[in-house]
């Protein structure tokens, strides 16, 4: 393959134009990394320096202990995956209805979804907690159980999931299903056999969004979960910082970096699907 000269020139211009933004974006990650590998006694040296005297990888092991990272990781995965599944499961039929049927109340439903996004979780936590404490579960209530968090996350992500999927669904030609009916396939069967397989990309992209939102959420999970064995990553890491007499920054940064890594890799891998999915999802 020969390098395309105009493309090469264009690449250079593009990279130069992007570089200020890229630098600002990379900056906090560099801060995280270099603080995370500093020996503890070098975090507060003056004058401060970027480069540590030696790379102390043991910080990550210390952090794993301090943040109870293993358990928290497992909890984050459970909560994020389950809430994603639940949100997608209830949103698919709704998105299908919006994409396929004209019906009364459609506008109302869309507006309702927008309103659900207008209440910041921080405003709702008190009520959510009360709600959770009213619902009996096991020998207590839904406080301190993952289920409460999962259901709340799913509910908060419905709006976005429905928007994205419904606009994608609208682009799937109707005739495909209709020709399946002519071949004697039942309506519901046609949806499963013909429609849903075509809608998989949209579902995957929507799922990633929901997953990331759940992975990064703090206010709700912090309020609803109280015992160590149920806490998620965001809670454990914030616990390392908030209101302490001393903050061990190297551990905090190591933990943040480690919690970010899985999501970043997910992004790198799925970046092209993401753009495509949103393209179709944004405006019908």
């Amino acid at each position: 393959m020969v390098l395309d000269k105009t493309k090469l020139r264009r690449s250079l211009i593009c990279w130069v134009a992007l570089s200020p933004l890229l630098l600002v974006i990379i900056f906090p990650f560099a801060v995280m990394f270099f603080t995370a590998v500093k020996p503890p006694e070098e975090v507060f040296t003056y004058p401060a320096r970027w480069w540590p005297s030696h790379f102390r990888w043991a910080n990550f092991a210390d952090m794993w202990q301090a943040a109870k990272f293993g358990v928290a990781l497992k909890n984050s995965l459970i909560v994020s995956l389950s809430s994603t599944l639940l949100a997608i499961a209830v949103s698919i039929p709704a998105a299908y209805a919006l994409a396929r049927f004209p019906f009364r109340g459609k506008g109302f439903y869309r507006q309702f979804l927008l309103v659900t996004q207008m209440l910041s979780p921080i405003l709702l936590v008190l009520g959510l907690f009360r709600l959770a404490s009213m619902i009996p579960y096991g020998d207590g209530n839904l406080v301190d159980s993952h289920i409460g968090v999962i259901v709340a996350y799913a509910a908060f992500n419905i709006a976005f999931a429905v928007w994205m999927m419904s606009s994608y669904f609208a682009t799937i030609p109707r005739d495909l299903e209709e020709s399946a009916w002519l071949e004697g396939c039942g309506k519901i069967r046609a949806v499963f056999k013909v429609f849903l397989p075509l809608a998989v990309p949209a579902m995957v992209v929507t799922a990633i969004f929901t997953f990331i939102n759940a992975w990064n959420e703090f206010a709700v999970v912090y309020t609803l979960i109280r015992s160590e064995e149920n806490k998620t990553l965001t809670v454990q890491i914030t616990d390392l910082v908030a209101g302490r007499y001393t903050v061990e920054w190297h551990l905090v940064m190591a933990a943040t970096l480690a919690a970010t890594l899985p999501v970043s890799i997910l992004f790198a891998w799925l970046q092209r699907f993401l753009v495509k999915g949103l393209a179709l999802g944004a405006v019908k």
Partner: protein, 295 residues
Amino acid sequence: MTQSASSRPMMPWLLIMPSFALALFIISYPFFNIVFQSVHDVSRFGMIRDFNGLTNFLKVMADPVFMDVLRRTLIWTVSVVGGTVLVSVPVALILHQDFYGRGIARTVVMLPWSVSLTMTAIVWRWAFNDEYGMVNVTLQKLGIISGPIHWLATAEWAFPVEIMVGILVSVPFTVTIFLGGLSSVPGDIYEAARIDGATPWQMFRKLTLPLLRPFINMAIVLNVIYVFNSFPIIWVMTQGGPSNSTHILVTYLYELGFRLGRPGEAAAISLVMLSMLMIFTGLYIRMQPKESGEA
């Protein structure tokens, strides 16, 4: 079998029901709770005392700090959303070009999205530390400043810094939306325009921008909602201080409700915020041509 969907009006509602019920179930009680608290005297630890009508609202309105905070919230929202759109449009245009390493560039631009807001704010707070923060270290090394700048000590520095971080975390989502919009633009209309002798600027003004309009509108509506309600950046970096000079409504109500022990007044502010957002989106959607409003 050939029955058309519209003649079976129940069907769409059946399909919508699960999501509607779930969202309503989760939202309605907390919402009711806010309304209830806003018209009651509520103790520091959440005990409901007496019904007090609009006292909470009146108290909030009479507070000079509230008006100040309200004004600042508008500045915050306009600056962050405006800045985000201004940064995102050119970035999306560039990332839409075909160039070497585009995949990497796109991934990097999306990176801030992968970190939770709270943690981003924590990292920036640390980076802006006067003595040990890497921002001052780097600027001093580069010879741009001679001594450390006290970034978070005064609102004059702290608030712009917070707006910058706010823009930075909103860019990935917005760029992604715009990229999606751009990829739905058919390439041949540019070809035709170029043959007609249009300059790049003309093409942007006359072709790209109108095509992007619905996407920009959607980005504005969603970003306004998210930024207006955005809590962690300001709370983590300055807690609204020094001397209330960086508070926005959501941090102010948090302080009122959970620090100063006045949950009733905090609930009243929540309702004021909600109605502001509803009025904004209502007006904005009305002002737009029909198809873009449904985002």
